[in-house]
Symmetry: D2
Subunit: 340 residues, 4 copies
């Protein structure tokens, strides 16, 4: 069959990771076009990527280009409109996290995809990471019994863009950086959130706090899942030292540790430095293989018409957790959720 | 000068660790006597340890034996009475954690020691552990900037004794197992607790839950310290897989990881097992050196009449945290503390 | 420009790794044909790979198919003939290690490629491995001063094919398994071999020893390089526990450790197993990225007409070392080499 | 019974480690005296250690002091005379490695101890190290089948004293630094040396090479044991970066790795440094527990009149290996040994 023609919408950093993968690393896909609100950037990226078509307007793309799927890597507050328009045009949707700004939006996205019978896959790439997959397999195999307590953390090296510092336009760091952890705790815990409590503070970016009163750069969240499992999340951004994504599952019969700070298996040692190794500078390095695997999976789901491993429902549930945590930070009390 | 004559009160497992150390590993101390409510056990232990004096009654000891110091390793609810009696007799006090059952008791212990001008040292041995010390030195040296977020966990391999399962007689697992983490978070965070929230659940010992309605075997606690630092604690007991004590400090310029699961630096690998290493079976193995170091420090403080590194005040503060966490578990809301 | 059309010659295990990479993971290449002496296998593999052209005869391929390059993954004793024929047909050559059976053959291959002005790249994929590259960068940056002592080891999980057990048809395990280490020691040591001594023994496959009197399954080799650096190699096959490739460079100011047994960064721990991690089952898993990178480099060299990072000269030098080590094993004395 | 009265002969660095241990960490021993050719140093050390008796002359000690055992930590070339005199005086002997300068001396020491029925224990402390012991237990339990190949390395941080740079007065680095590795290979291999080949070079201390023509600061040695096991040793001194002692056993069913560079289980990570841990600065830090354990074992053997785990025979065998390796370095050929 013909390759799946993919258009990447939003060609910032994350967009370029996906665009490069769809072009070079997904055998049954071809990169057909790019879209960016900034037409000059779209043109430049198209040229870099060797792609003929570029647009600043999504609707023009949907009207004029023959594409099978889009990959949404624009700011969060634009996701819903783009996804819904794509669905209506019969185009499959890969959507970066966080899914959208509100639960209502996520619901509309899910309904639009369902109605149009297009694939809607969320970009929780950890589910495609060899390390997380190996851990999940051990867990599912019963190596450590039932999960009792799950920890997941993400810390990012640098500052997010301004729109992501304002909780109103982004739901803040817990959405932009820690969406993955909300998904990981649900995924590994095998159950839904019933209670969430969060503490947050600004301990580094005092300037941003002045500009955005709701801003925080450190947060911790506790979870109670419906099946009784407890969860712990911590997030911080910018931490400077690199990208840090680790998790841990305590089970009734043992424990699983997932991920580590160290990047390549090279260590050197001198008198003046002591033992030195390198860590992951960013998410691109840490999850390079996972980004390829999720792109391949998306294309496979389109070709074989099967449900993706990470659905719109998963995106919605993660957002539900984020919103509850932000509400807890603002109100100072734990927030209960339906849990089913 | 003559060696410091120490009596160990309570010769269960922890008591025997201390008794053996005072006998063999603290050059300037001698083990002079043991006390245990169970006279037969006291006699047996005395014989094993090569000690002539043994008692079932503390007051008999204080009356009849010439001792300089006691080491209290009895159940928590007996600590206050023993410590106060020792202080009145002019005997220095080493007290295992948790310090006592109530804040009132801890205050009385502190006052009694102060009045009698005797040393009162708390058994937070992590402060004497080479691993924790190396981490604290890096932190104090500014290697990672100011602390922003601290994680500390303790998980124990086996079941505590029945009295420690009942919150009324022990303050539960958070006191018996996780007192160390409350101390670690204060110590590394360099500030006092101002808000504590906790979630707990029974996910393994369902029988004990029936017997003791307040029982829990898994807990997570969040902290906000006065200086703004956030804290995270998790505890579980019994976890079966061994003794697990780790911590982590996220600072404004980097991160420090403290402790690891692996015990000796030996790894083997075969086709059927994969890579296999050994972990710490219990606290005795993990903190063997720390127990020796804290005993030596105690004797040094007595001889040199200096204040110990871990005081009654530290014991009281840790208990304050435990009590707040238990209150949060029972009430479902965060608990505020004075923080100073 | 048009993609580089590659034909893989020899579609056993290693051949399929390369074929899959040229097909899926090298953007500027296309897999155009496969050749295998076993026509049925060639047909089957062609079908699996979605390739139209397959041959049992190299000359037929060279006559009839339009290809730009071949990848030689046949048994060692066939490399020279294939490479020379390809060169004469103006076809670029990627050649798996070991380069050939004799130094004479390697020299003829180099001359043929030079005369035809085609690329000749050797398959020492460690030079393309992120771990080895990171180590080489530290070394070149002077992090540990001048190299003084280099260790390199390779141990393989399973038995080689029969032809590789007979030293006459393969130069034995040191050639088939440890060619990489000979290259690594030259590469990291930055100098040529001047003296080689080896010990070998059969300690596991006693049956093979009866069949092939020159067989050995364990070997150690010492090196003296022209610049004075010492080298150590150990090899063993089959070791059963997995694929093991590590190296170490001791420099005048420090040490670099390269590679480790552990595969994914997942560790689990239970009472019955202790700490358990997974190791690399085989070379495909350990060097997956390196195989892609070397294939991309080969195609890049063809397109940009530049010299590859690993040349026929490197292949010849590694073979020179292997031959000297085998001679040392047979004679019981150290063997001197020209060293320049 | 009364404590075993120990005299330490030679109170340099190693002597002080033993003296401190006999004084503080061996419950059934007392440090009774010190001897040093330098009387002033002997007096100073005696004062530091709180010991009344000190001598510059061994015979005076043996005449005048009531002691049960001596610990020999003088330069190698003095060991034999001291040990033999002690044996004749009925005094038990703990002897630091290397045992002596010649095989004849070692034989006389063994005979003297045997005749006098005194304990003669060699200071191969690795046999008392928790890490090496854990590895040996795994090996003996059959976790990895029969040993096929053993690697052992020791690298020291600083320069040895001048007498140890001259092969004539010390047998050089292989004796002074790597005696332990010769013992480890025999111990873990469970067999005797039958062939030894060595390469050595001066790659750092060019000055010392001028002063002592036989000097080398890097060496590699290969071994063939009587049971067929192969061995590999590497040594270097001074390496600057710290003390490095690791070993590895490849067995017929798997592999065991022994020891690692990292010291405490603390890791920190910042943007400017990457991942940083600390390594062992010296042998005192790396083998602190092993030194205590071997001293306790020695005293236990005296009290219980049992044979020590490391005998004079072990000291002799290690020396035999060292001498063969030095001979190989000088002659350029492998050296055969009796092997039984």
């Amino acid at each position: 069959m013909n390759p799946v023609r993919v258009c990447v919408v939003g060609v910032g950093r994350a967009g370029m990771v996906h665009a490069t993968n769809f072009k070079n690393n997904v055998p049954r896909a071809s990169l057909a076009a790019v879209v960016d609100a900034d037409l000059e950037l779209a043109e430049k990226r198209a040229k870099d990527l060797g792609v003929d078509l570029f647009f600043s307007d999504l609707y023009e793309l949907l009207d004029r280009a023959e594409i099978d799927a889009i990959c949404i890597t624009t700011p969060t507050f634009t996701h819903a409109e783009i996804a819904i328009a794509a669905a209506r045009a019969g185009v499959h949707i890969f959507c970066e996290k966080p899914m959208a700004l509100t639960l209502k939006e996520t619901e509309e996205m899910i309904q639009a995809a369902r109605k149009a019978e297009v694939i809607l896959q969320m970009g929780f790439m950890r589910r495609f990471d060899p390390v997380f997959i190996a851990a999940k397999e051990r867990l599912d195999r019963g190596d450590i019994g039932r999960p009792m307590l799950i920890r997941s953390l993400t810390r990012g090296p640098g500052l997010p863009p301004p729109w992501a510092c304002d909780i109103k336009t982004s739901n803040g760091m817990l959405a932009e950086v820690n969406s993955h952890d909300f998904d990981t705790i649900r995924w590994l815990g095998g159950s839904e959130f019933v209670r969430i409590y969060a503490e947050a503070n600004t301990l580094k970016c005092f300037d941003l706090k002045e500009e955005f009163p709701n801003f925080y750069d450190n947060a911790i969240v506790t979870f109670r899942l419906k099946n009784g499992t407890l969860g712990l999340l911590d997030g911080a951004c910018p931490v400077g030292y690199g990208y840090d994504a680790r998790a841990e599952v305590l089970g009734s019969e043992g424990v699983i540790l997932i991920g580590e700070l160290q990047d390549t298996a090279v260590v050197s040692c001198t008198k003046s430095t002591g033992l030195v190794a390198s860590n992951f500078p960013g998410w691109r390095e840490r999850f390079r293989e996972a980004y390829i695997a999720e792109a391949r999976h998306f294309v496979e789901c389109i070709i074989e018409r099967k449900e993706p491993k990470v659905t719109g429902e998963d995106g919605k549930r993660a957002l539900e957790g984020v919103l509850a945590a932000n509400k807890s930070i603002q109100s100072g009390v734990p927030i209960s959720l339906g849990g089913s």
